[in-house]
Amino acid sequence: MKSFRTHLMLCAGTGCVSNASHRIKAALERELAKHNLQDEIAVIMTGCNGFCAQGPVMIVHPEGIFYQLLTEDDIPLLVEEHLLKGRPVKRLMYTPPEEKSPVPKMSDIGFFKKQRLIALRNRGLIDPEKIDEYIGRGGYKALAKALTAMSREAIVEEIKKSGLRGRGGAGFLTGLKWELTAKQPGDEKYIICNGDEGDPGAFMDRSIVESDPHSVLEGMIIGARAIGASHGFVYIRQEYPLALERLNLALCLARDYGLLGENIFGTGFNFDISVHRGAGAFVCGEETSLIGSLEGQPPEPRIRPPFPAESGVRGKPTCINNVETWATVPEIVSRGADWFAGIGTETSKGTKVFSLVGKVKNTGLVEVPMGVTLREMVFDIGGGIQGDRKFKAVQTGGPSGGCIPASLLDLPIDYERLMEVGSIMGSGGMIVMDEDTCMVDVARYFLDFLRDESCGKCTACREGVDVMHSVVAGICAGKGKEEDIPLLEELGQAVKDGSMCALGGTASNPVLSTLRYFREEYEAHIRDHRCPAGVCKALITFRIDPERCKACLLCNKNCPQGAVSGEKKKPQTIDQAKCIKCGVCRDVCKFEAVTVV
């Protein structure tokens, strides 16, 4: 194989691809050829690097220099200065919010420094479309160990001992799930990889499949061996085209190498995997609904017991785990349960991948040891709140989770602690909110989402969520009544109790947790007809402070309704009858003269 002196690891995750990283690639290749460097320097397209807010990103190895927010126009300079003359280009490096000058090395950037990568161990370090690069980083060694040196029981025991818990939401002990399925009689058993990632703002699973598909496959083959499954399914969303493409390619390459199919590693073990594309229904993340969808039936949850471990796909014992769970398995088998159990907290072992989004400066994909505090997530890794606004809450666990207020910022993140404060780990979505976020509006948003996504099988969920939504929407519209709050609390409990699956079982969390920590905001909406965050349109008015207005007329010119008027060189006023509360005047004002009351 030809040697290159430098590898340019250009991110080709979905985030960077939508920021035109393929055009950056073309520009790089063009410029490299221009300087006759194409035989010295290789351009490698990797999976998601995680620092999506700064995309397109590229890391130059061996120096480990991190470039961000690249455009095609930057490439000629970058190639000539750094790659030809060895002078890294400071202008294209990242400057952390707390620093004055750029930090060249990836390992020195706070966003990356606090992370510990297990599930994402190969992200940005390999080309996900080349199986040899995965093997070059130790890939499939765990499979060889599991197949040749471990009994089926020993594999299950190892996973049990590691304390690994399901990364998809409920946090059930993975080893126990395996054991239950393995102990079922019969030799027709199935395993499923749940890649139906549906939480708004969550993209952990997509990223893992995109950046390291073989880690998922290796985990599944090991699991199949332990459980005694003959076939596996990856259930993945149709709207993840890049993940699907890389997954299908990975399956072909693994089959070519005999890592899937008959007589794997010459041990007589047969196993193969097929891909099932989901149409993107949130309820399919629920395991029994997913199994229904896989069988070609409507995705509706089934009553449990029997659990899928006893009767799943086609009535056969089935073990279903999330993408991240499967991707973690090979590392546990390689390094041992004790190593894994040594990371994390008492009840939650290992690391967890989060998609950190919302009002933080550094949005992206992060993997941290369990037990890291919310404060570290938001301020050290996230770099604090955008525009130096005040932090208000973190929403974890997607539509099934809850909002955690600033007073609990020092809470260590693990399954139990999040549950105690009324939220859940979920699949790892983490939405950061600032003082300009209205918590009643947040509850309304999630209820609206769940109202659409409820499959409608259980009355409590179908009707209850809809009623809760109309009550909360009423509060946002200024039509709230005193009795709404107790009604929401009662209804929330009833929906929890009367729903068969976790969708309904957790649907009231966004409402109940905001009522628990931000009750005064609900009360302000209901009693004072006031939205303290200035979000709910029915309850706010835009005014121009005559003291501050410098009569620049920017608001006047930009108002789409012609609602701003006033003489030249005189403070402007807003005609409330015409105002549609779009906020353009506030956005364009340079003197903070537009206020919301």
Partner: protein, 127 residues
């Protein structure tokens, strides 16, 4: 390659090791070719391709090749710095392709400094 046996994994990993160690930034030896305008004009590009060729021929898997800017001694270009893990860096001057080959074989691969071509051991004091 057909169906893999467990031992094939190590063979593939060995083949990929150079690629991987480069990305981890961990090599036994690091060779820096000074690529300022002066260096390039004096023939540093040829030194670079010679070194890459040496790596391919010797199948060295843990040598990292870097570039950097002008080293300040423009009259003695092309220059390169060889740094073995745990040892002080050595600067070589007035390089030719033949000299680069000899430095690669003797110093980079075998650890013997080629005193004939060396300018100095160590690096300048920086902040």
């Amino acid at each position: 390659m057909g169906k893999l046996q467990p031992e094939d994994l190590d063979k593939i990993a060995e083949r990929m090791r150079k690629t991987m160690s480069l990305r981890e930034g961990a090599g036994r030896a690091r060779v820096t070719v000074h690529m300022g305008t002066c260096g390039i004009a004096a023939g540093a590009r040829k030194i670079m391709s010679t070194l890459l060729q040496c790596i391919d021929e010797s199948e060295a898997k843990d040598v990292i090749i870097n570039t950097s800017g002008c080293a300040g001694l423009c009259s003695r270009e092309p220059m390169m710095t060889v740094e073995l893990a745990g040892k002080a860096p050595v600067k070589y001057v007035d390089l030719t392709e033949e000299k680069a080959k000899r430095i690669f074989t003797e110093h980079v691969l075998s650890g013997r400094i080629v005193a004939d071509y060396a300018l100095a051991v160590g690096s300048e004091q920086t902040l």
